[in-house]
């Protein structure tokens, strides 16, 4: 199968900022949700999703739907794994706790940290917040299978 070159740079080898930005903003679903690249550092990544009326869960509150938070947390976990120089094959499981509703019409930011890599598995923690990471909207814990790990 012929792979587009920009996708290879986003999915293999070490992750530079251009590839990370591509991974965050250029898959069809993250583009549809309007994800924006925030940062990467060693085994860590951050993504923002700006508030939009069509992403709301309950129109009476104007809060972004929890489903958007799910995709945001899943994606930031993948980014953190790439920032740890591993390549995720797919999510095995993802546990999300919703601490509190986001503020109405608030943008959300997610931070992910890949705190442990084995030959086959990446373990990741992430949180989503609406301004203060000390007061998160949601926290997540995930395990991912890695490409090349024989999973």
């Amino acid at each position: 199968m012929v792979k587009p070159p920009n996708f290879i740079s986003a999915m293999t080898g070490s992750l530079d900022e251009t590839a990370a930005r591509h991974m965050v903003t250029r898959t069809p679903q993250t583009e549809a949700l309007g994800f924006q690249f925030v940062s990467i550092s060693e085994a860590r990544g951050a993504i923002q999703v700006p508030w939009r009326a069509d992403l709301v869960g309950d129109p009476e509150t104007g809060v972004i739907a929890s489903g958007v938070v799910t995709t945001l947390l899943d994606h930031v976990c993948g980014l953190a794994i790439r920032a740890a120089n591993a390549v995720p094959q797919g999510t095995l499981d993802l546990r999300i706790d919703y601490m509190r509703p986001a503020k109405p019409q608030a943008d959300l930011v997610a931070d992910g940290h890949c705190y442990k890599l084995t030959r086959t598995i990446a373990f990741v923690r992430a949180l989503a917040h609406d301004g203060d990471p000390e007061d998160p909207v949601a926290t997540a814990q995930a395990a991912f299978a890695l490409i090349g790990g024989g999973a």
Binding site: P28, Q29, D54, D58, A65, G67, V68, H75, G90, R95
Partner: protein, 141 residues
């Protein structure tokens, strides 16, 4: 609120009032008391263009919305339930095709309900993903 609503009316109201459900393109059908949620394939749901595969977050969100829809069917009030926590298991890649889901309410509590959901594509016996979740029930109006 004294006006009696039917399960079909409550389901339709939940689907219509949630902007994010329109973003996903999700539908649901009732056969008696059994609800099947449908996520028709659409290119904007793709998370991996190489395989291609649906974004894992989309599958998780679809199952969570299925749980909320099933709770809306049994609930009396107009407000939706709120998600407390979900655990998503990814079993098979979600292919670029229609996805279906059914929810099973394991416990319908007055304050908190526990719901399991399974999603499948080609065969009901080969689920692509599943969730278990807890949901805060709306205060009945």
């Amino acid at each position: 609120m004294s006006v009696e609503t039917t399960p079909a009316e409550r389901l339709a109201a939940f689907l219509a009032r949630t902007p994010y459900i329109a973003f996903l393109g999700m539908r649901a059908e009732l056969a008696g008391d059994e609800m099947t949620a449908i996520l028709p394939y659409s290119p904007h749901l793709i998370g991996n263009t190489l395989l291609p595969a649906l974004h894992g977050g989309v599958l998780g969100a679809f199952m969570e919305m299925t749980a909320l829809a099933q709770l809306a069917v049994i609930s009396g009030g107009p407000r939706p339930a709120k998600t407390i926590d979900v655990t998503i298991d990814y079993l098979r890649p979600g292919r670029a095709m229609d996805t279906y889901a059914r929810a099973e309410i394991k416990k319908a509590g007055r304050r908190i309900s526990s719901v399991h959901v399974e999603a499948w594509q080609e065969a009901r016996a080969k689920p692509v993903a599943a969730i278990r979740g807890h949901f805060q029930m709306p205060i009945e109006g």
